[in-house]
Symmetry: C2
Subunit: 110 residues, 2 copies
Amino acid sequence: MVQFVHPSRDDITLEGVLAALSDPMRLRIVKSMVSRHGCMSCTEAAPCPEMAKSTLSNHFRILREAGLIHTEKKGVEHRNVIRQDDIEARFPGLLRTILGFCDEPHQGKD
Amino acid sequence: MVQFVHPSRDDITLEGVLAALSDPMRLRIVKSMVSRHGCMSCTEAAPCPEMAKSTLSNHFRILREAGLIHTEKKGVEHRNVIRQDDIEARFPGLLRTILGFCDEPHQGKD
């Protein structure tokens, strides 16, 4: 059985969260999860449909290990939820501030 | 003559800033530069006195390339200033929000 590693709320670090969000694809995944709420499979939260499954999986692992998402295996799917309450408790306003700067998929310049 | 590479204001990216700040030492360097204002040599802004010069130099390069600091060579020293206006213009409130979470040198847990 797949065991996912999730840091406890107190083990979520500022550096870890910033590192996890320092990638445009992961920013888009988190933005999409925050705006749509609820559980999402990796595929549903994918920033672009052509992304390789292994790449997507790696992005989700980084987000999970930083404490940004919680993953559970449900049947053949991995269901992900954003740990918004935990992040907000640790770093109030941080996620909202950062996501506020990535409204456009490509930051206007890429 | 040493030429430092500085991105223009418009070329400063959210991902680059987050990546540069995703390290506890660089967070402390930036925090120290913001709170003390003015020019600082790499040594003055060093988060700990025993840090190797090459390590310190690498941290400053990453901060410079992300657009967080501006470096000039003055004699034998490199003088650094925080590009607070540029960062604020690109991402209003971001630096203040992030630095607000790193008041303690070790984030209370390390």
